[in-house]
Symmetry: C2
Subunit: 404 residues, 2 copies
């Protein structure tokens, strides 16, 4: 079954944005060149004949790049795990595609490559964590581990972290809980991209929600979605293709709904899930604010429009994040079996298009995982591979080996 593009909410955050976070001038120049390469094309593997890289090699490549710029080996490994899971699950915008951002963050000391997150405050089922400006995945994995421990002890663990950084796919942390038989949730705030209902300016992040719950025999339900209708990368792709976008994706600079990706991208912004007000956009806006309350407000991190710009970042990100683990065993017995029955009912519903079965959240990712298995690795767009080669050259590390 082909994975529909709509199911990849994070697809293709272009390296333009990543590169723009570089702080030194020389690096900016290099980044501009990389950006020029990547921005010409859709970097999703479906856009050209993909080049397959075994997962272990992608992991190893990320590790050696990060270690080369001074990241603690264990932190490099944790970041690599999260990014490779992103690619493996088909969320290519949040995988290798963002490696240069993390490399530059460590190089420029915008983010710390060594240290340990600190539990500032805790109770039976809560913790507040100071992320110590470490890599987002280091903070996230630590925080979710605390949430899981507390859920094992008291039934629920709810953890808020401040002083964090971009943590990759939110789904990673939900799955971290799922692997322990828990329901897992995670949220993060982000740099502003979203225009509140009735507003004009980008004020809120894409503020994703992850909700993961375990079924039987490794099956699961994994919702991992931005609370904007789409990620900005999808607007960029439409712009390059000179194609209009659905009306619920974004606004122009005057706060009017627009189907012109140029207007959305240049000076406009993304609409919350639901689009305009009369199609329910105020609900997506509400969910977006809910995520910010559970992230920046609860943890006392940066929030909303106070978060540094993605294209012109200054200082540490100080992102806020939330991590929740719930032990379903504390509720009615047989949770996994009921969940399995429910998702199976949904999957076997009569579809409106007989060629496209009804899916549940996580199914497109599962299809991509199977695809990777059959290919013997992750299928990367040729430009992504070239970008990695360039990064390897710049850093003086061995380039990423592709599958024979």
């Amino acid at each position: 079954m082909k994975t529909p593009v709509y199911w990849l909410p994070y697809l293709i955050f272009s390296t333009r944005k990543s590169s723009c976070r570089i702080t030194c001038h020389l690096e900016r120049a290099i980044a501009a060149r990389n950006m020029a390469t990547i921005n010409q094309t859709d970097v999703s593997p479906s856009a050209a004949t993909p080049i397959v890289v075994p997962s272990a090699e992608a992991t190893s490549f990320i590790q050696r790049c990060m270690e080369k710029v001074g990241t603690h080996p264990e932190h490099a490994r944790q970041l690599a795990d999260v990014l490779v899971m992103g690619d493996h699950r088909g969320h290519f915008s949040h995988g290798l595609n963002r490696l240069d951002m993390y490399v530059r963050d460590i190089q420029s000391k915008t983010c710390n490559g060594d240290g340990v997150p600190v539990i500032v405050k805790e109770s039976a089922s809560t913790a507040l964590i100071d992320g110590q400006n470490l890599l987002g995945p280091v903070v996230g994995r630590f925080a979710m581990a605390v949430a899981i421990r507390k859920a094992k002890e008291s039934g629920v663990g709810w953890v808020a972290a401040n002083a964090s950084n971009h943590y990759g796919i939110a789904g990673y942390y939900g799955l971290q809980a799922c692997k322990e038989g828990m329901i897992g949730m995670s949220f993060t705030n982000t740099s502003p991209f979203c225009v509140p209902t009735g507003g004009v300016y980008k004020t809120l992040g894409t503020n994703p929600i992850c909700f993961a719950a375990p079924g039987v025999n490794g099956d699961d339900f994994v919702l991992d979605m931005a609370t904007t209708t789409v990620a900005i990368g999808k607007v960029e792709i439409a712009m390059r293709k000179e194609q209009p976008v659905p009306s619920s994706w974004g606004l122009d600079k005057d706060g009017h709904e627009s189907t012109d990706p140029e207007k959305i991208f240049h000076g406009g912004g993304l609409l919350p899930l639901g689009g305009a007000e009369n199609t329910g956009g105020y609900k997506g806006y509400g969910l977006n604010v809910m995520v910010e309350i559970l992230c920046g407000i609860l943890s006392d991190a940066a929030f909303g429009p106070n978060i540094r710009s993605w294209t012109h970042p200054v200082g540490a990100a100080n992102l806020g994040q939330g991590f929740v683990a719930i032990d379903p065993g504390r509720f009615a017995d047989g949770f996994k079996e009921r969940l399995q029955a429910f998702v199976n009912i949904l999957r076997h519903l009569e579809p409106s298009d007989p060629s496209r079965p009804v899916q549940v959240a996580g199914d497109p990712e599962r299809a991509h995982l199977r695809k990777c298995d059959s290919l013997g690795g992750i299928p990367y767009h040729v430009n992504q591979i070239r970008h990695a080669e360039e990064l390897a050259r710049q850093l003086g590390v061995a380039p990423m080996k592709t599958k024979e």
Copy 2:
């Protein structure tokens, strides 16, 4: 500031549906007559010169109707509190408009009018509650009180209830936590109205999410939203007005997006928040399933398509519901002040239409509360008043007094 109609997600669930829950033939006949009265018009007060009823009298009327059919006085009071709050906040679909449904549920013994919910299982931060087929508000208030107690003790309280019934506005329970300085969340499953992305049939409920968080001096953020784009009542109103609806509201009987309210209402169904797949509807579908997992699946209540039909109900509802309280004091100090700063930033953003300030969730309801204060009561549509008079006559209780 006029409350925009879009901000009333629950607006006008017509009594047709409520009435159809009546099980005995005589009652069905009475209901059909009531339905005919109400269905001719939009029962929102804006549709005709409203008739004002003091809140205390609306509360008292609901109590005497419920007591007359054998409901325990305390249960009648709790139901009245929840329904009157619905009307007070402008969610007229979930207030007095639904009284006859609750009356018939008690009369027909579909729902129990006396008893106490039972804590079946509990841990430091969780509880599973058997709602004993009591009125939804009785179960909901009890369950949220347990969640709040656990949050005071351990930081978080997460409660799942089964064997419950329609519990009115989800916002009531979020606000119950808010009044104790807590973040409150609540969810419920419902009879099927929503067609999953890519499907054809109504399989899932409107599955609302409430998230409420306290600010300073009684201010708050209260998101209370169905995870469908709109409630079915808005489709009914458009049908009566013979007006097309936005394309993201619903589907026809073949699972195709439709702007014809007749086709959506008769044999079709509601779309999840976001509408079709390419406008993000798969996200609303994911959120809708998330709610069901936290309700029917976690508590072992009825779930998804197994929940009895709204128009042809058979047996007890056995709804599943979720109640969460989080003590923000266990996280970074100054939560309420930060929340207040955040919502104030949002409210003072430049609006795209200068006559309509940017709002946050709960602001339209606040405006309606102020309107009620200035009127000295709740402004009901004349047909709602007539319906209440008819109910009073049927039950032999004193009719609801309107404001002099």
